[in-house]
């Protein structure tokens, strides 16, 4: 939580000596508050004030990153409790967990599938972020080795200090895994190890007091990057814990809880429940999420949820307006009109592309809005479409001038005929799913 100019002023010497280059201490304080000056400019500030000021300047949720082989998973740095207040910034990392009690083959089969998983959502390739290796009475180092043989993504390593040491020795130089999970019993050796490895350390606590206590101890032991793992499994327990952690960090600038959160939705054991817990973890403040089951039909909706929740509310995801080619169209192929809202464009483009039909797609500038939203807001009308037809030189691309409107805006067809007198204006189906059939049967 940033300090105000007045709060900063109270920590300055208040002598107005001008050595900082500003006429008064207050003027300097105001510049500091606006982040337009550096504290180092004042040679007279006391050590105590300086450390208070630098603490206050820290982001309320400590940013950190896990790294390996060119991959990076960032967490922390969040500034709001609700996405509409500004935006959430670092998409929580999704990790699939394997146990060292499983055979190397079983581990590798699961890791391979999770590692290779990629799914397209509105033109973005979404993937999971890494693998969690859990000590479970087996050979931890062997499990880490088995994982590394098939995945280069960042790791979460959960074991005792000895096993962790063995596991760490197998990682490439410069890799930063998350280590854990330290508890009231083992935190000293775990903290020493994390400090030595320069890796973040997860700490667990069954109550808020226990978690705060452990975070403080681990910090005093020299670990800078801490991750909080409230020991809760139920939806309500996790929601309450995560909300309190984030609220204390943002509203009270309470340092011991100013760290990313680690969640284990798979702890419940039931995959259907795990999906809901993982969804909640995405929406409600977790930074690292450990899944015990990997299935594409669950990974896909979770990845889409993560995109939705972490989209900046000020900026709808958009594509650049213009004329796009689907399946190498020629002069006889139709022009399909749509808007430049990513979800709209890709639901149409994917449909046409998948069906093998050829088409020109005119992506009109509708300020990133869906067909009906843009129409209702007056950003998608015949005049604008006609303007974009001219602006993008569409007439030069086709011999047979056929233009297809989305079914939802059939009302525009009359006006568009007036705007584009030498074009044949057609009304398509309402939903993109029905386009291939329409193109085959009607648009011949």
């Amino acid at each position: 939580m940033a300090l105000s100019g007045i709060q900063i002023y109270k920590l300055l010497p208040q002598t107005n000596c001008k050595d900082c280059g500003y006429p008064t201490c207050l003027a300097f304080a105001m510049k500091l508050a606006a982040k337009q000056a550096e504290l180092a400019l004042c040679p007279h500030v006391s050590e105590e004030s300086a450390s208070k000021l630098s603490a206050a300047a820290q982001p309320p949720v400590r940013p950190m990153a896990l790294r390996s082989n060119g991959f990076e998973v960032k967490a922390g740095a969040e500034t709001v409790l609700f996405r509409h207040e500004k935006t959430f910034v670092n998409r929580p990392g999704l990790f699939v967990r394997v146990r060292d009690s499983d055979s190397a083959d079983a581990i590798q089969a699961k890791v391979r599938a999770a590692d290779a998983y990629t799914v397209d959502y509105v033109g973005m390739d979404l993937t999971l972020d890494g693998i969690a290796v859990q000590a479970d009475g087996g050979d931890f180092a062997a499990a880490v080795q088995a994982v590394r043989a098939v995945s280069q993504r960042p790791l979460l390593l959960f074991a005792g200090a000895e096993a962790l040491k063995a596991g760490l020795s197998l990682l490439a130089a410069g890799e930063i895994p998350l280590l854990g999970v330290a508890d009231a019993e083992n935190w000293q050796e775990m903290a020493a190890l994390a400090k030595q490895a320069g890796a973040p350390l997860a700490v667990a606590g069954a109550s808020v007091d226990a978690l705060v206590d452990l975070a403080q101890k681990v910090k005093e032991a020299g670990v800078a990057d801490i991750v909080l793992a409230p020991a809760q499994r139920s939806l309500l327990g996790v929601l309450k814990a995560n909300t309190i952690i984030r609220r204390m960090a943002l509203k009270k600038n309470f340092r011991p809880l100013g760290y990313p959160i680690l969640s284990f939705p798979g702890d419940w054991g039931d995959p259907a429940r795990e999906a809901v817990l993982a969804g909640q973890a995405i929406a409600k403040y977790s930074g690292f999420i450990v899944l015990d089951h990997f299935a594409p039909e669950v990974a896909y909706p979770l990845l889409v949820l993560r995109e939705n929740i972490y989209t900046d509310p000020q900026k709808p995801i958009q594509v650049t307006p213009g004329i796009y080619e689907i399946n190498n169209p020629g002069p006889d192929d139709p022009v399909l009109v749509t808007t430049n809202f990513s979800i709209t464009y890709f639901s149409v483009a994917n449909e046409v592309e998948g069906s093998g039909n050829k088409a020109w797609m005119l992506v009109a500038d509708a300020e990133g809005m869906s067909v009906l939203t843009a129409w209702a807001a007056g950003k998608f009308d015949a005049e604008r479409i006609a303007k974009d037809v001219k602006r993008f030189g569409v007439a030069d691309k086709v011999g047979r001038k056929r233009i297809v409107l989305p079914g939802h805006v059939a009302v525009l067809s009359g006006e568009l005929e007036e705007e584009l007198p030498d074009w044949e204006v057609r009304v398509g189906p309402r939903e993109a799913v029905d386009l291939p059939k329409f193109m085959k049967q009607v648009l011949v």
């Binding site: 609700f82 990629t118 809901v276 949820l305």
Partner: protein, 391 residues
């Protein structure tokens, strides 16, 4: 598909039999907590009550340790709000002039969803299951399979929905019958009567979504079932007067829908209450989008509306109803099983997860009623609600 659901642990034996067994009413298990309705004033004999079946419970892991135990040392930041969401009763029992066996209460919150440390959250979110007066057109194949032949009989469908775990029924009237003939007030009233008699659950009735047809069908229904405390919809800024007037005259509630905008929602609530309908008879529908299709807008507008309500803005202090079922089942992800990317995985599980995530995340952003379509989603959402309310 039924087999696939059974594998998922989705349905119990009795439900599977009911789903496979066709229209025969006896095959459908009775509503868990929903008593059968006593006879409606003007009409024929009520359906006999079948033996109540206990809803099946999952094996629960040991409960969590209390994260905020008594005597907690850390000074917890508590959010104190001055406003309160109106508490609204849906459905009227015999004593109140209706015939419902169960009256459902929603609203009454003085805190953001499930923030029990901040204030009161007296009522659990409610699951409404969508049914219709006839077999709907254009639904996903998975939904036809999941419900089976009950889709041809609104009363049987109502019972199956109750058995699946509905707290409330959400009945959509069709514009035309299966042969394409326009729906008539007489047919619509008969269908609503059959549904009311089939279970004791409170009922929401919405028109086909065209102003003229909505008004033609909803007014006679409102009059025929005076005193039942139905919720009638959908009121939009272009068409609300007729529905509000008839709801007012016959003791019903209304649903007010606006397009994902705090100010539009407030405006419509003002217009409706200006007509004289008390605020505690309005449910607001801020509109939602499915996961991947505008979900984030719906999610955030509900958080904003609920914050405004708790800050004391009277015109937003109404419970919220949203349709994750309808929206999720419109998506290609839910509708289409073939010719989709392999990365989409199993069709059935994907669709159910799509609907379940949309519904549960909307519940966490403030929904008081979620309207759902698939019985397995109902079950999963119920588990989530129980978990979230289990202090």
């Amino acid at each position: 598909m039924v087999a696939a659901l059974a594998e998922l642990g989705g349905l119990d034996e009795a439900t599977i039999q009911a789903l496979q067994g066709g229209v025969g009413l006896p095959a459908i298990p009775a509503a868990p907590a929903a008593p059968m309705a006593p006879p409606l004033p003007p009409e024929p004999a009520p359906v006999a009550a079948a033996a109540a079946v206990e809803p099946e419970k999952m094996v629960e892991p040991a409960p969590d340790a209390e994260w905020l135990p008594a005597g907690v040392q850390t000074e917890i930041a508590v959010e104190k709000w001055s406003g309160k969401v109106k508490e609204i009763a849906l459905g009227a029992a015999a004593a109140e002039g209706g015939s419902r066996g169960a009256v459902v209460k929603i609203g009454g919150q003085t805190a953001m969803p499930f923030m029990f440390m901040d204030g009161e959250l007296p009522n659990a979110p409610v699951i409404a299951v969508e049914i219709a007066d006839r077999r709907p057109d254009g639904w996903s194949e998975l939904l036809y399979q999941a419900w089976g032949d009950v889709l041809d009989d609104p009363a049987a469908w109502a019972k199956a929905a109750a058995a699946a775990g509905a707290n409330v029924l959400y009945m959509r009237l069709s514009l035309t019958d299966a042969e394409g003939q326009p729906n008539t007030p007489a047919k619509a009233v008969a269908a609503v009567r059959a549904v009311l008699q089939a279970t004791g659950l409170p009922l929401i009735v919405v028109g086909p979504g065209q102003a003229e047809a909505d008004n033609d069908l909803l007014v006679p229904i409102s009059e025929a079932f005076k005193g039942e405390r139905l919720a009638l919809g959908i009121c939009e800024d272009k068409n609300y007067r007729t529905i509000v007037a008839t709801a007012m005259a016959n003791g019903h509630l209304v649903i007010a829908r606006t397009a994902m905008d705090v100010n539009l929602a407030k405006q419509l609530n003002i217009l409706i209450s200006d007509m004289g309908l008390p605020l505690d008879r309005i449910l607001m529908d801020p509109t939602t989008g499915a996961l991947g299709y505008g979900f984030e807008y719906g999610y955030s507008v509900m958080e904003r509306l609920r914050q405004a309500a708790l800050q004391g803005d009277a015109m937003t202090q109404l419970p919220m109803i949203v349709n994750p079922g309808e929206e999720a089942w419109k998506t290609k992800e839910a509708k289409v099983g073939e010719g989709v990317p392999a990365a989409w995985g199993d069709w059935s599980e994907r669709s159910i997860t799509w609907e379940t995530l949309t519904s549960t995340m909307l519940i966490e952003s403030g929904a008081d009623i979620v309207v759902l379509r698939h019985p397995e989603t109902v079950k999963r959402t119920r588990v989530a609600i129980d978990d979230l309310m289990n202090q």
